[in-house]
């Protein structure tokens, strides 16, 4: 299957290894991968802060770029950015044509775990990694896209990997985009509960589907000098130890 990468700006600039890993995993399961270098951001920061005019600009740009490709699917290493694409049509309340174009693009946009499990029917992607791993449900992947079992299935099928379910895995890490810097104290308070659960689970790495959550969780782990690593699902699935 031909797949167009929606790599997301966060992964492009801060966590490129996640993108590289995703390319490797997708190729390993037989996909042809293309990447349109014109892409930048989906506009989610603007949309979530209330700047709909800016968000609409990003949405139009995104739709135009991805309409140019004959790829059957658009795949992103982020539940949050994928969910944003699914929200695009809300930005055109008075424009049926754009709404339809938005819906068409949204219908073929997938988050990585959902794409592998639900579209390709792959739960074993040939990865192997030793150690104790846990899954943190990124809110939008879980509650906007409904992906609860998919990432867990993928992790449990990684050879040698010991999967540990931590407590309150589906509770927010406190990131929330601009929320994390608008109300940093509340954000960090919520984060501390997550860190407590991670510590209790006594694991080598906490895995998630959104780089933003990993930035939040990793930032606190790093500040506290804790050894637990943060890894994106794509990075784990790319491992063949």
């Amino acid at each position: 299957m031909k797949v167009s990468l929606f790599v997301t700006c966060l992964v492009d600039q801060l966590f490129p290894t996640v993108g590289v890993s995703m390319v490797e995993v997708l190729r390993r399961v037989g996909c042809e991968v293309v990447f349109d270098e014109r892409q930048t951001c989906c506009g989610q920061p603007a949309f979530n802060t209330g700047y709909r005019h800016e968000a609409q600009k990003f949405a139009k740009r995104f739709i135009e770029i991805f309409e140019d490709s004959d790829a059957e699917a658009i795949v992103a290493p982020s539940g949050s950015c994928t969910a944003m694409v699914k929200h695009f049509h809300e930005l055109f309340p008075d424009d049926k044509t754009w709404r339809e174009r938005a819906d068409k693009i949204a219908a073929k946009t997938y988050e990585l775990a959902g794409f592998l499990v639900n579209v390709l029917n792959k739960v074993d992607v040939g990865a192997s990694a030793s150690g104790r791993f846990t899954w943190h449900d990124a809110c939008h992947g879980l509650r906007e896209l409904g992906l609860r079992n998919e990432p867990r299935l993928l992790l449990k099928n990684v050879k040698e990997l010991e999967f540990i379910e931590m407590s309150n895995a589906d509770v927010c890490c406190g990131f929330g985009g601009t929320f994390s810097v608008k109300y940093p104290e509340i954000s960090a308070g919520i984060l501390d509960n997550k860190i407590e659960a991670i510590e209790k689970a006594n694991i080598d790495a906490v895995v998630s589907g959104d780089a933003s959550c990993l930035m939040q969780i990793g930032g606190r782990l790093s500040r506290l000098g804790l050894k637990t690593k943060t890894m994106h699902l794509a990075e784990v699935l790319a491992l063949q130890q």
């Binding site: 700006c9 270098e37 603007a46 802060t49 700047y51 509650r143 927010c172 810097v181 509340i186």
Partner: protein, 488 residues
Amino acid sequence: MERMTSETFDQNARAALNDAMLHQALRRLADTFGDKRKKAIATVADWEGLRTGARAIKDDVLLHLDTYLEQFATNAERAGAKVHWARDGAEACDLVLNIVKTRGATNIVKSKSMVTEEIHLNRALEDEGLDPVETDLGEWIIQLADETPSHIVVPAIHKTKGQIADLFVEKVGIEKTDDVDELTYTARRFLRERFAKTEIGISGANFCVAETGSLLILENEGNIRLTTSLPKTHIAVVGIEKIVPRLTDLDVFLKLLPRSGTGQNLTAYQSIITGVKQNADDEGPEEVHIILLDNGRSRMLAHPVTRQSLACIRCGACLNACPVYQQIGGHAYGSVYPGPIGAVITPQLIGLSKAKQLPYASSLCGACREVCPVKIDIPELLLHLRAEITDGSANGISADTSTRKKFGESLAFRLYGYLWAGEARYRFGMKAARLFQTLVARRGKIGKAGKLLSALVPPLGAWTARRDAPTAAGKSFREQWRDGLEDK
């Protein structure tokens, strides 16, 4: 006691985060109510179906509210109640005061009601020299403490057992005890004395049934039944959104509300009140007044997105599930309606300008939407309100510091909209960021920013106060794609 307002949400929240006693009290929330709710909904075969059904009833009501309200008023009056209409809180308070004064009543009891908190009825009565007594245990506690409720269902959730004991020692004059039964008995003894001589009982209602003109009220303590049946006069203040068309509609809501609110399969008492007593020997009030309150509700009705705010049945499940509420409690919101639903309703009730922080007091995690028994899309509402706030603030600088901050933010977003919407500009911006980070990063990360840096780049200061920040990678993904990944 000075009340916190929504305008100073950030300061209120910071104070709450530093309140160790509050944290101790809030710990119970997620553990107790979250788990009890899960167990209670597991006893229902088709929870999702119930939610969908309840929302369909509410949607129908909200689309034809005028018709149903008229039907309710006609049937309530036929049963002997007097129906009044109040445009806002002041009108509703005046109506109550007028009834109280005409009867020369001085002994007033109240049962737990969020809508009377919303219109600050107690203050209005006290200003006239009256002394209304709250008869719900939690409400009585906060009345003694001269505070406002911090939760829709459990108003004194912010208080620990020890704090309540101290309060009773000070205000009621009991000996210090940490025996919960003894504390409850103290309240019961005091309140029964007041009930014995009461002339007027004031309540709210959970539902108003249009086809019969009845009120349905749920409770666990029995005080509401006393409040609405013992005094000669019963006054019920209810929001216009409380209507359900038929008695049979209560079935679905009776299954949803107690399970969502307190994790009970059913509350201990369910009272259906229809008009006045029919025979002299019957129990019940001789006079029933129902005050139907708008107070900004018809404004919410006007827009298809905000309309769903009125589907709320005040169960409090979204508060219990909200990570933000769990951190700061209810008072920080500066409104009688706290938590996710409060962040949505408050700005619509008191005006966006007075509560413009509240729609941002959420990480948009969606836990509220997941637990809402009537499927209110709270994140959608928050985003809708954020968009309204941002549009309104795009006009420029004002002397108000919060607006100035907003101006900086809107400039930043316009800049982001410009830079990131072109690939060349995006790449240039990222190069500049990499240059900047060489000044601030150490060992591949950015630690706690100093005062100067925090002042120059406030978000970086806010982020790094408790978290390290990552740095941009040496080679971006797009560069790696071009440098061989594409053809690998």
